[in-house]
């Protein structure tokens, strides 16, 4: 038996393989297609204060080794999330992390405070890639002072796990990492998508309605590895790695670099069983190499 457990903040996860926000719906979409409870944690699609319709089509386009999306965070809003999505999520035995996004600084804390009244939630992931309406649409992790402040406001509202999810579209992700650590985050997850664009040469129109979108998938894995490596060196809190993880080998690279856990994203679309296959692969790897605890591979990069 391999001990696959990892600890983040006060929470013990059965294993380090999670699913990334926006790629696993609210888990019900995957019922029957994968053993949901075998996944270390479910991170929900982003929940906002009010319902949002999302962006007009086209929202997605396939690109070499990746895809660009501009979904626009469609969701039913926090109140309907609680009444419509939580009943299924609370039947799960695995960990539930609710990803939240606000339009202004205070909104993150407001949503978290409301969700904190609801049982069955283990923690929150703060989507700092969304636009800050008061700052001309720059993301919440564009400015370390704002990232720290928003994290502090959330920290005051909850004892549950607080994970700050960072965008790679900044000059120094390490600086933002330190800011959210100062703000009281238990962990950092990175990376969200990279800004990307694709053009239809026949119509000369952008292939995404909002012109640019977020690039994800295998294409971004090298960038994600570098950003996770940078973060691991800049902060003391655990880093959860996201970006182009399609296989257990990809996941292992991130663990070696120092990630405490990983999230499978885009891969869920092509293979709804991607997360459990990643976990199975990691466990076999440990077995074959005489490693009894998964944590023993974390941060073993030889430089």
């Amino acid at each position: 038996m391999i001990d696959a457990r990892v600890h983040i903040g006060q929470v013990c996860f059965d294993n380090p393989v999670m699913v990334a926000s926006g790629t696993f719906g609210y888990a019900a979409e995957f019922e029957g297609l994968v053993d949901i409870n075998a996944i270390g944690a479910i991170v929900t699609k982003t929940v906002t204060l009010e319902p949002r319709p999302g962006n007009p089509p086209p929202r997605i386009v396939e690109t070499p080794s990746g895809m660009i999306n501009s979904i626009g965070l469609p969701n039913v809003g926090v109140e309907q999330f609680i009444t419509e999505k939580m009943p299924f999520l609370s039947t799960l035995t695995t960990r539930i992390i609710v990803n939240v996004a606000g339009k202004v600084n205070e909104e993150f804390a407001q949503i978290v405070a409301r969700l904190d009244e609801v049982p069955g939630i283990d923690g929150y992931e703060l989507n700092y890639s969304c636009p800050n309406v008061k700052e001309g649409g720059l993301s919440f992790s564009a400015d370390p002072a704002i990232a720290e402040k928003v994290t502090k406001l959330v920290r005051q509202k909850t004892k549950r796990l607080v994970i700050a999810k960072l965008t790679p579209n900044v000059t120094s992700i390490g600086e933002i990492g330190q800011a959210v650590q100062n703000g009281g985050a238990d962990a950092i997850s990175a990376i969200n998508t990279l800004v990307g664009m694709a053009v239809d040469i026949n119509s000369r129109k952008p292939k995404i309605a909002t012109i640019t979108g977020g690039l994800s998938g295998p294409a971004i894995k090298p960038v994600a590895l570098a950003k996770v490596f940078e973060l691991v060196q800049c902060v003391n809190i655990p880093v959860i790695a996201i970006g182009g993880i399609m296989s257990w080998q990809d996941a292992l690279e991130f663990l070696i670099v120092g990630a405490r856990a990983i999230q499978v994203g885009t891969a869920n679309f092509m293979d709804p069983g991607a997360a459990t296959k990643t976990l199975d692969g990691l466990l076999s790897y440990c077995r074959e190499n005489g490693i009894s605890r998964i944590v023993d591979v974390i941060g073993t990069l030889k430089t």
Partner: protein, 269 residues
């Protein structure tokens, strides 16, 4: 769970060229062939590391004795080209059945199908599903040129009145399929209790929707969107609806569709 959507590993039983650049692949999997209804689709992993997304295909017909189901496609891009070169005995990962099927009101007295090009794909299964219904079934089938028309024999065998239309007049009648659909509607003395089904290129669907509305008929359409997942996970396939609400502003083509009522769906691009 019987009939549940699943990610099956299925074997290619047959692969045939049935018209110009048009391929039909038979796949063996009772978990799909037994439970699928016309309008539903499967999402197929192309065996190539270069191709990220699966490719969606309508289930074209089934063989309930051999537990096979077929897909019909044109080789138009990387994925479909790779599929067309697969060989009998090879295996494919197939997620399905997915999406909502065509439905008809109890009192339907005639069905009218409007298919353009590869839009014919789901309608053989529809005719199979309706084989026991002893009502007139008209199929208006438009292609650019005669060599692209397929399944003509089978359409006859399934008891449909075929109205073949080619843009160049090389076979059947010359013109656009919707022109002959319109003429037919004009020729009808009464038009209630008729159900229209449409699948094909976008301009054809727009015209079919306009005619169905103008003549006060009921109908359904199958739409094609870009799909990253096919089962509601990516929320990347929105379709505008005529009566949006705050909590449901768009439909999803993959889970709410691909079949929609013609009076509910907005077909702009």
């Amino acid at each position: 769970m019987p009939g549940a959507t699943n990610d099956f590993l299925v074997k290619i039983e047959q692969i045939n060229l049935v018209a110009q650049n048009t391929f039909r692949i038979s796949l063996k999997q009772s978990g799909i062939s037994r439970y699928v209804h016309a309008g539903q689709f499967v999402n197929i992993k192309i065996p190539s590391n270069e191709i990220l997304w699966r490719r969606p295909f309508s289930v074209h017909k089934i063989n309930s004795v051999q537990n096979t189901f077929d897909i019909l496609f044109n080789a138009i891009g990387r994925g479909t080209a790779a599929l067309s070169k697969m060989e009998v005995g090879q295996q494919l990962r197939v997620l399905g059945p997915l999406g909502k099927a065509f439905v008809y009101p109890e009192n339907t007295e005639e069905i009218i199908i409007v298919a353009g090009g590869l839009g014919i794909a789901p309608f053989l299964l529809l005719l199979q599903d309706m084989a026991d219904m002893d009502i007139p079934k008209h199929l208006f089938y438009g292609v650019k040129t005669g060599s692209l028309a397929c399944c003509v024999e089978e359409i006859h065998q399934l008891g449909a009145h075929l109205h073949l239309v080619t843009e160049d007049g090389s076979e059947g009648q010359k013109g656009l399929v919707t022109e002959f659909f319109e003429k037919y509607l004009l020729s009808l003395p009464v038009r209630d209790k008729r159900m229209v089904y449409a699948c094909g290129p976008h301009p054809m669907l727009v015209k079919a929707q306009e005619l169905v509305k103008r003549f006060g008929l009921k109908g359904q359409v199958s739409v094609e969107n870009m799909m990253a997942c096919g089962f509601g996970a990516c929320v990347g396939c929105p379709v505008k609806m005529a009566r949006p609400t705050e909590s449901k502003f768009y439909y999803l083509a993959c889970t709410d569709g691909p079949v929609f009522d013609l009076d509910e769906v907005i077909l702009d691009d």
